[in-house]
C-alpha cells in the first residue's frame, strides 16, 4: 500500500517523461557526446574522439567567432531591453492618460505586430521594408532625396535593422504588460502628490516607477530571455540558405545553427551548444532566484 502511494504520482507522469526524455533530454545528452568528437560531413560515421579540442577551439581561438558572437548577443540583449522598457513605459503611460478616450482602440491596433506570426512579419519586413530596390525604407529615403542604403549587407546597419524589427515585434507585449501594471497602481497616491504640488516627472519617478518595478519583474526577465534566444530575426533577415545578404552578424544561437547546418562542423557546433546550455542554466538559476517560488 505504501509502495503504491509512493509511486502513484510518478505513474501519471510516465507518458510525458517518455516524450520529454526522447525529444528534449536525449538530444542534449547526444549533443554532449558529439561535442567530444570530430564529427563533420566527411566523418559522418567514422568519427573519432578528440577530447576537449572543440571546446578549446570555441572558447580560446579568436577565429572561431564564438567570442564575437557572445559579445554580439549581450549587446543585442542589452540594447533591445533598455529601448523596449523605456519606450513601452512611456507609451503605456500615454495610454493611461486620464482623458484619452480612444485608448482601447489604440491598444487593439498596437497589438497587431504581436499577433502576427513572427516569421511572416520578418519575411514581410525583409522584402517589404528593407529590400534595397523596392523596400519601403528606401522609398521613404528617396522621397526625402537621400540615396539608397543597403540595409542588410554590412554588420552595423544589419544589426540596427534587426533591432528595429525586434522592437516592432516585441514592444506590443511590453506595452500591454506595463499597461496592466500601471492600472494596478492605487490612484490615491497621485491625488496626494497633486496636493503637494508634484509635477509630472516627480510623480513618475517617485510613484509610478517604484510601484511598477516589482510587478514588471517577471515579464521583463522573461522578455530578456526571449531576446537573448532570438534566432528568427537575424537568421531570416540576413542568413537564409542561398540568400546571404553579406552581413556576418552572429549571435550564439545563430552561430550554433550555422556551424551545424551550413559549415557542417557538428563537433564544434555541439560544443558551443553545451557551453550555451550551461550559460542558460546559470542565467535561469539566477533569474529563478529573482522570481517568486510560488509557481512551484
Amino acid at each position: 500500500m505504501n509502495w503504491k502511494r509512493k509511486y502513484q504520482p510518478w505513474k501519471h507522469t510516465i507518458p510525458a517523461f517518455i516524450l520529454i526524455g526522447a525529444i528534449i533530454i536525449f538530444p542534449i545528452v547526444y549533443t554532449l557526446y558529439i561535442s567530444f568528437t570530430n564529427m563533420n560531413l566527411y566523418h559522418w560515421d567514422n568519427y573519432g574522439f578528440v577530447g576537449f579540442r572543440n571546446y578549446i577551439r570555441a572558447l580560446f581561438k579568436v577565429d572561431s567567432g564564438f567570442i564575437e558572437a557572445i559579445g554580439t548577443t549581450f549587446l543585442w540583449t542589452f540594447l533591445n531591453m533598455v529601448l523596449q522598457i523605456v519606450i513601452a513605459f512611456f507609451i503605456a503611460l500615454g495610454l493611461n492618460a486620464p482623458k484619452l478616450k480612444l485608448a482601447r482602440v489604440y491598444k487593439t491596433l498596437l497589438m497587431f505586430p504581436w499577433a502576427m506570426p513572427a516569421y511572416v512579419s520578418i519575411l514581410l519586413w525583409k522584402v517589404g521594408i528593407y529590400n534595397t530596390d523596392f523596400g519601403l525604407a528606401n522609398k521613404l529615403l528617396s522621397w526625402f532625396g537621400i540615396s539608397k542604403i543597403d540595409y542588410l549587407s554590412k554588420n552595423v546597419p544589419a544589426f540596427l535593422s534587426c533591432m528595429v524589427l525586434n522592437l516592432w515585434m516585441a514592444l506590443p507585449f511590453m506595452i500591454m504588460m506595463f499597461d496592466g501594471a500601471l492600472q494596478s497602481i492605487d490612484q490615491s497616491y497621485y491625488e496626494s502628490a497633486k496636493m503637494d504640488g508634484a509635477g509630472f516627472w516627480v510623480k513618475t519617478l517617485k510613484i509610478t516607477v517604484p510601484s511598477v518595478k516589482n510587478i514588471m519583474m517577471p515579464a521583463v526577465l522573461m522578455t530578456t530571455f526571449t531576446t537573448f534566444k532570438q534566432f528568427d530575426i537575424i537568421y531570416l533577415l540576413t542568413q537564409q540558405k542561398g540568400a546571404l545578404t553579406g552581413a556576418t552578424l552572429q549571435t550564439i544561437i545563430t552561430y550554433v545553427h550555422q556551424k551545424a547546418f551550413v559549415s557542417n562542423n557538428y563537433g564544434l557546433s555541439s560544443a558551443v551548444s553545451i557551453v550555451v546550455f550551461v550559460l542558460i542554466i546559470l542565467i535561469s538559476l539566477f533569474l529563478n532566484k529573482g522570481l517568486k517560488e510560488e509557481a512551484l
Binding site: H12, I20, I24, Y30, K99, L124, F134, L171, F261, S269
Partner: protein, 281 residues
C-alpha cells in the same frame, strides 16, 4: 478656468496625434503588405514612392489559391497541429494533475528541472535530433515531426495546466472520492471538465506554435508535398522572391488571418497565463 480647458484640449489633441502616429507605424508593414497584395506584379516592383499605383486586383489571391499548393500546405499544417495538440495535451494533462495534487519526493526538483528545460532553445540540439531521426528513418515523416513538436510543447503544457489545477479547490475531488469514484472516473468525470478552459487555451497555444513554426518544418520535411503553411511561405519567398513578391504578400495575409482571429479571441488568457507565473521563456 477656460484657459485650463484649452490647455487640456491641446494636450489631448497632441496625445491623440502621437498615438495615431504610433499606431500607423505599428500597422505600416502590415498595411503595406495588404495594399501590395491587391496590386499587379509590375506595380508592386516599381521603385517610385506610391501607395496606390495601377488598379486593384484579386489576381494574386486567385493565383496563390489555385496555382500554388496552398490547400496542400494548409492541410499539412492542420494535420501537424491537431496531431501535436492531441499528443502534447494527453501526455501533459495527467502529469500536470500529479504535480498539482500529490506531494511526493522529488516533485520540486523535477519542476525546477522542467523550468530549466523549458528555457532551453531547441535549435541547440537540432542537429542531434536530426541525426537521431535520420538513423531511425523518421525524416520526412509527419508523425516524426509531431513527436518533436509535442515534445517541445509538453513542458509548457504541463506547467500551464498545473497552474490551473492549482486554482481548482481540492474539496470537489475529495467529495467524489468519498462517493467511491475510482481514479480514472475521477479524472474523466471531474478533473477534465473542470480544467476544460485551461486545456482549451493550452491547446490553442500549441496550435499557434505549430502553425508558426518554420525551422523544424523546413529542416525535417524535405519533400515539397509535405510543406506546411510556414514552410511553403518560406519557400515561396526563398525562391526568387522579387518575382513572386505580390504573390507572397497575398499568401502571407491569408496565412495570418486565422492566427490573428485566434489571437484576439484568447489574448486575455494569454496575458494572464503568462503573468501568473509557471511559464517562462
Amino acid at each position: 478656468m477656460s484657459k485650463k480647458k484649452i490647455k487640456n484640449k491641446i494636450q489631448q489633441f497632441f496625445l491623440n496625434l502621437f498615438f495615431i502616429f504610433i499606431c500607423f507605424v505599428a500597422l505600416l508593414p502590415i498595411l503595406y503588405a495588404l495594399i501590395l497584395s491587391f496590386q499587379s506584379g509590375t506595380a508592386a516592383l516599381s521603385t517610385k514612392m506610391s501607395f496606390f499605383s495601377g488598379t486593384l486586383t484579386l489576381d494574386n489571391y486567385k493565383n496563390i489559391i489555385f496555382h500554388h499548393p496552398l490547400f496542400r500546405w494548409l492541410f499539412n499544417s492542420l494535420e501537424l497541429s491537431v496531431g501535436t495538440m492531441i499528443v502534447a495535451i494527453s501526455c501533459s494533462v495527467t502529469s500536470a494533475y500529479a504535480f498539482s495534487r500529490y506531494r511526493f519526493k522529488g516533485r520540486i526538483q523535477t519542476l525546477r528541472l522542467l523550468l530549466i528545460l523549458n528555457a532551453f532553445p531547441q535549435i541547440l540540439t537540432m542537429f542531434a535530433l536530426f541525426r537521431l531521426f535520420k538513423t531511425l528513418h523518421l525524416l520526412d515523416s509527419k508523425p516524426g515531426l509531431v513527436l518533436i513538436y509535442a515534445g517541445s510543447m509538453c513542458i509548457f503544457s504541463i506547467l500551464n495546466l498545473k497552474g490551473y489545477f492549482d486554482t481548482i479547490p481540492i474539496e470537489i475531488e475529495e467529495a467524489s472520492k468519498i462517493d467511491g469514484a475510482s481514479e480514472t472516473q475521477l479524472m474523466l468525470k471531474i478533473i477534465l471538465p473542470l480544467a476544460k478552459p485551461s486545456i482549451i487555451v493550452t491547446a490553442v497555444m500549441v496550435l499557434i506554435f505549430v502553425w508558426n513554426e518554420y525551422l523544424f518544418a523546413t529542416t525535417f520535411l524535405l519533400k515539397d508535398t509535405s510543406y506546411t503553411l510556414a514552410g511553403g511561405l518560406y519557400q515561396l519567398q526563398a525562391s526568387d522572391y522579387s518575382r513572386s513578391w505580390p504573390l507572397f504578400t497575398a499568401a502571407a495575409i491569408l496565412i495570418s488571418i486565422p492566427i490573428l482571429i485566434v489571437f484576439f479571441i484568447i489574448q486575455k488568457h494569454m496575458v494572464s497565463g503568462l503573468t501568473s507565473g509557471g511559464v517562462k521563456g
